[in-house]
Symmetry: D2
Subunit: 473 residues, 4 copies
């Protein structure tokens, strides 16, 4: 899958008992989380109570350089953010960390997720004279916390109070002059983990791979509904009443990095499992199993292991194509797919091929890939998707394409879709299968985008309209 | 004068009856106002009620390019800002236009000046739960307007109400979805002028040179205490009760561009006058009168005209030195002055020289220049300054160096200072002289930085502390 | 393998019967060849006899943008080059294409390989008054061709004559005002292939993947000793007397892209074969076979297939680390390896691991990787290398590290090396094995860097000194 | 004058007895020479016999930064170059210093001027198999020197020999491993001066202002036909038979910086003189004399001094417009002139104005400026040009527009031209006047572009064709 399904964000935070190069460490952590958002990023550090930050549009390696990392300097806390932006991307006001001043001091905030009552909150504050700079809902969270801070004794109490008012998905890290506070919505839609450093400090991050990348040690997942405060007094947790957890199952299927462990379950293993379950649910006789790089490879190995059909490497993905790539003006449109992804003819020529991908959105890329396989001599191409079909909007931080564009909404059967994209057969993982892939996970899952059944109330009008609107547009 | 006295900002706004390239025009207007602030800039345009903006750290020519001007696109209103930042410069949150969303819609705001009750306002709003992103006081103005908008029927009414609460210096332009509103504090500390375009539109700008640069026609100054609203219904003005005006006299002496006309008086003429008055007040026998480029040249011609001593060009200023200039590591410190400003020996050799500059701050640059003149054969160097001596802080938008660094605060007499900087004699323009330079101006002046007497109450504690603090630090 | 063995270059050329966007097509072709050189690149196009070019330091996506591609414009021929530079990299004079003017017109030249008599040629020309701007040997080739052009009737005759005088490895494309000429040394050290476009034109490139990437069709390999001229009269070939071919076997093992086909043999298949042969030559009992991404993966699958030990994905490679990555200042040195390459614990924990890499140079990276595997719970780590050990210099266009740094030169046995890098066992592919990996290839191979036996005379003094010198330094 | 007459280059060289920051010093020297060429620049330093260089397209402040100056490092010699390029500008091959390797070692070369027999030289070398990368004639000089070096005992002897073969204008600095050699054509068309440093070293530069800018001391002009060698043995000069000198008189009028002294005459004084002579030759009754900034200001003061008509400042020139300036798309064409150059109404309103400029090329800019003056209330505008009219091509390093575009070629009388550009009257300086402006200069002048009479043979066919060709195009 190349296009159209995007995680919104990745967050990282570090607390050290004594001043250190926390800005640099956060920079490294963001590198490990870059897959969760590639449009903008930022870091805020806290140096003896003073918050300094730098942020910008672009990849971590583009926004940060020696000079601005040096300007950030050392400190004992830092938080960072990588972001995929659904709205234009060029608006610096939306880039996080959000750094604000309020009556009790300074606050920096990073957020992964999406609120379901953002509009209501915004209306409430605006009626009191609030001004908003960003279009993202992070500013709503900040306002709620600051309001609740007026009547509470500490920032963590304010956050706890606020968590009863903000609804939806949020895995956040807040940094005040003295404390680093991680908090996660009561459904635990998005992952958030805790680790420790070799120098007595703590790390909070969206995924364990970020802890690994800075030589930290994973401790545990932050729990749904937990408020975890790190300060000179160590770690303290409190909780709001939590729901039955409902982690986004697509974190396992696509968003998270395979080396991460979420809620006790290895992402890599979950993908292998997805492939295995898929092989059981939708077997087909063939000569080779190949995956669409990079995210389809794990499931392809799983499918191969289960089906005993040999695994092969079917594609070479061009590593050098970035945003700066200039599309050819006079050539046919599918050339770009070919430049990005070339078929290894040796692997597929004269073979019946099982092609594994993690999802289909519009189907155009799948069609191009299948065409390329046939041009390289594949006799049959059976597409197997390691997730159920997208048919419904996500309200919890995933940017799913509009109904009009989703191929699974446009056609009634897998047969029809297979025909449209040129596959000999097509099968998706079943929703039941999706629930089984993280076999040793301790949590439950949200499968709303597949089933249309959501674990909490959703903002019917607004979002649905937006979802439909895209259709009508 | 090279260093240490800085205007804080320049503002520009345009309203057209029908959509046009208002972003491009604002870009041109900001080029003409660049002398008022070189650290950051931005433009916001309003296209059928939708506000888009782009801003960044750097000169207008660095921040804007074809791509981002195209992205801004056409519209029927735009506002722009150039800024000199006193605090680090690297904080994108302070860059204007400030673009916000509030209960009644969108608002963009640009501001030149400085509030005297910013801290009180901020405290008031923070106590109600407000969050601030910027350290500049523009956000305070925005909050006050948005609060007052809750109980008024229009944005211009809200602004009028707010103007009774915000104190100090502000020449502002606000842009809502439908209206462009210029408003100026009741003392008229900073200039603000109105012009019209050839296509039925209106321009508001800090100086007339910006109106000229976009082929507009000057109409009149915006009056102290005026709220001028431009909309599809044309122009309407209302007023708050105004004080006796007190324009910053340093606008004539240094800040404004010589081709601008402020309050009916040509800036160029005011500088010629400053030179003439200075010649009358502090005559000296000499062979040649030269000015320190660029801002000392006008006064030098005035001095020459009055004294009948020939005017000469004493220096070549290097036009190519920008922020990217890398200072030599192993050379003596005054080399940088020499690279920037070389003496034309032909002009000064074996001559008694009257050197005109617009001001002295620390005196170091003056000392270097005088040394260069002597090295090139000047027999005598008599320094004449076309403004009175800086001895007091400014509360109204000028960044004056700390008391400790001001040479006029460190020494008791002109003789002492002359000795320190190596001049044969030194004289400043008298404060009375300063009040006479804009001879046909309709307004009164603030001379607080020279006299220590201010036209309105000043924030004693805070600012004075800051001013002294610099001394003690 | 991350470091220290580098291919020097990739070349691309296109000839179209009528003017087209040949610059853009070459840009795409270079993207597909970027793995052959990442330090600089360039494109020259020929538009109605006029040659325009653009080149620079950096990746293709960094050096080229819409503006400079537009300036290159359309034409009927173009050549391009990607380069890895052994000498500083920052010298624009060495960047190719080399574009020159000579007595008969203009000539652009790109070159992959390395001459063995560059110094002699350079001396000869310099004695006649020649001036050189580059330190690379491409300028020597140009001089020889231009000299031979004085006494021949066509550029292709001149090249043929020159090919009897220049010795060593060269796969070149020359572009004159009218012709595109590909020529390859008589040993065929470096690959060079011919393809055709859908619009009646021809493509010459280092690898077939570049032909694929521009929607071309592969025709055949350019033969050792062949001079192939493409002009309005179509294709013509002539030949110098060729040696028994001796393609660089490391092209199969590491340099070329797995989807390329060289001399009739798929690179991917050759790597699978390398793994299979390695499994036969050096079997070991284990639970999982993993490869070091990306170049060790193919061989790992081959090893797995042959040994029947399951294949697994052992690592996640960070896709976002480029040259701009800033190494942490205060952390231990191996952190960078960890950020680049994180272990998937799920795959290796409590397992006996066979780790496949394509080569070892200094051994430091291998040691880091093995350490990471153990930290993630691997019980045993058996390192298998899908190429023989580097022990000798390459004279034909590969930049091999100095003897002092090559771990295979420093220690006498695989056991010793295994101990140093922390592996439980270590085995290399045998030289005989290397000769068998491209089983259906039509050519012979050079294995000089493994065996020390070279197919042609080598420049003993010079190079050896350089190779030893690095040792003594 | 804004457009169309361009000096080709500025050169700078430094020799120090012991290693120093010569790269940095050259960087400063080039800043002072930037007015002689703004399109590209470069520096080569010699560090213990090893030459390192960096060059690029752009201003000195754009091409050089801390990193690449550091990479250049220290040495005991350096040369630098700023260039205005007549041919596209984007060809890095033409950027100087030209750094080459030849049979006797390394050589770096910078050149200001233009050869008249470049084509013949190029043909001669090409017939011997030479290859050229650049289109500029500097490479021809290098070839000649290298050829002559084969039969001479030193680089300075080779240069002396070469100087009898290369014809036209050249003020050059060559740097070998041991020596810095300045040489100037026997007519001395372009300036070249010698200075010394405070640390026992020597400086060679196009103008004295560059010596001043690095705290050096001017010694004397390099003589026409002189070869001056600086080495560890000190300074030695030899000479070829020289012609009667013929310095380009336009160096005084426009090219050189006013603070420079050429052949004993101050450039500033020469411009004052030009104004004085012009006032005598073409007096007119008026109220004010103003100059077009920056190059018309000196002559305006001269005119004012002679005529006793007051001098005034008529314009403000926008200092911030660089190459990045984006011209407005929808506005009338003359807006750009207005943005660049605004009239100070105060100075010209209701006045009879004498406007002084240094030259007219196409007349379009003059027309715009006169229009602006009238719009600002000038009652009369009398244009006086401080140089004779351009009517002929320059063969010696000045890029004069084609005959078709030169307004003095298109119309027969000053009256006609005055009418076309909207002036009330127009007068040029006489050619005789031009010869008198540098009253204490020791040299004679070339006035070929005014008179059509050249001091040496000119390449009739080639250049004339080019000059005419532009006409026919």
């Amino acid at each position: 899958m190349f296009d159209s399904i995007h995680e919104e964000c990745g967050v990282f935070g570090i607390y050290e008992p004594t001043p250190k190069n926390v800005g640099e460490i956060t920079y490294l952590g963001l590198f490990a989380l870059q897959h969760r958002g590639q449009e903008s990023c930022g870091i805020a550090i806290c140096d003896d109570g003073v918050i300094r930050h730098h942020k910008g549009i672009g990849l971590v390696g583009e926004v940060f350089n020696k000079d601005n990392l040096n300007e950030l300097g050392n400190g004992n806390m830092a938080i960072g953010h990588v972001r995929y932006s659904t709205t234009g991307g060029n608006n610096i006001n939306n880039v996080q960390p959000l750094v604000i001043k309020h009556i009790k001091g300074n606050l920096a905030l990073v957020h992964n997720g999406n609120l379901t009552n953002a509009q209501e909150l915004r209306n409430k504050f605006e009626l009191e004279g609030a001004i908003f700079r960003a279009t993202s809902d992070t500013e709503d969270i900040a306002y709620q916390i600051v309001h609740d801070r007026l009547n509470t004794n500490s920032i963590e109490e304010a956050i706890k109070e606020s968590m009863t008012k903000i609804k939806g998905a949020y895995s956040c890290i807040a940094m005040s002059a003295q404390k680093l506070i991680a908090f996660r919505d009561k459904n635990g839609f998005r992952p958030l983990v805790l680790g420790k450093t070799k120098t007595g400090g703590y790390i909070v991050a969206s995924e364990t791979c970020a802890i690994d990348s800075v030589n930290g040690e994973f401790i545990r997942d932050i729990k749904p509904g937990e408020i975890l405060t790190i300060s000179k007094d160590g770690i303290k947790s409190s909780f709001i009443e939590s729901n039955s957890s409902s982690l986004c199952v697509f974190e396992y299927i696509y968003f998270a990095r395979p080396d991460s462990i979420i809620e006790g379950s290895s992402v890599h293993r979950a993908r292998l499992n997805a492939g295995k379950i898929l092989a059981k649910e939708s077997p087909i006789d063939a000569d080779i199993v190949i995956g669409v790089p990079d995210s389809g490879l794990d499931a392809a190995i799983g499918y191969s292991n289960e089906s005993k059909i040999p695994y092969g490497i079917g594609f070479v993905k061009n590593k050098y194509m970035g945003r700066s790539f200039i599309k050819p003006t006079q050539e046919e449109r599918n050339l770009t797919v070919k430049i990005k992804l070339n078929v290894i003819k040796e692997t597929v020529e004269n073979k019946r091929v099982i092609l594994i991908d993690d999802s289909i959105v519009r189907g155009t890329t799948s069609a191009h890939i299948i065409k390329l396989l046939r041009e390289n001599g594949a006799k049959e191409v059976h597409l197997r998707i390691s997730s159920p079909a997208f048919k419904h909007p996500c309200y919890f931080g995933t940017d799913i394409d509009s109904k009009e564009n989703l191929i699974a909404c446009k056609y009634n059967s897998n047969e029809e879709i297979a025909k449209v994209i040129g596959a000999d057969s097509l099968a998706y993982l079943s929703i039941e299968g999706a629930h089984k892939l993280a076999d040793n996970s301790k949590c439950h899952f949200c499968d709303g985008c597949f089933s249309g059944i959501y674990p909490i109330e959703t903002p019917k009008e607004n979002y649905k309209n937006k979802f439909e609107e895209k259709i009508n547009k």
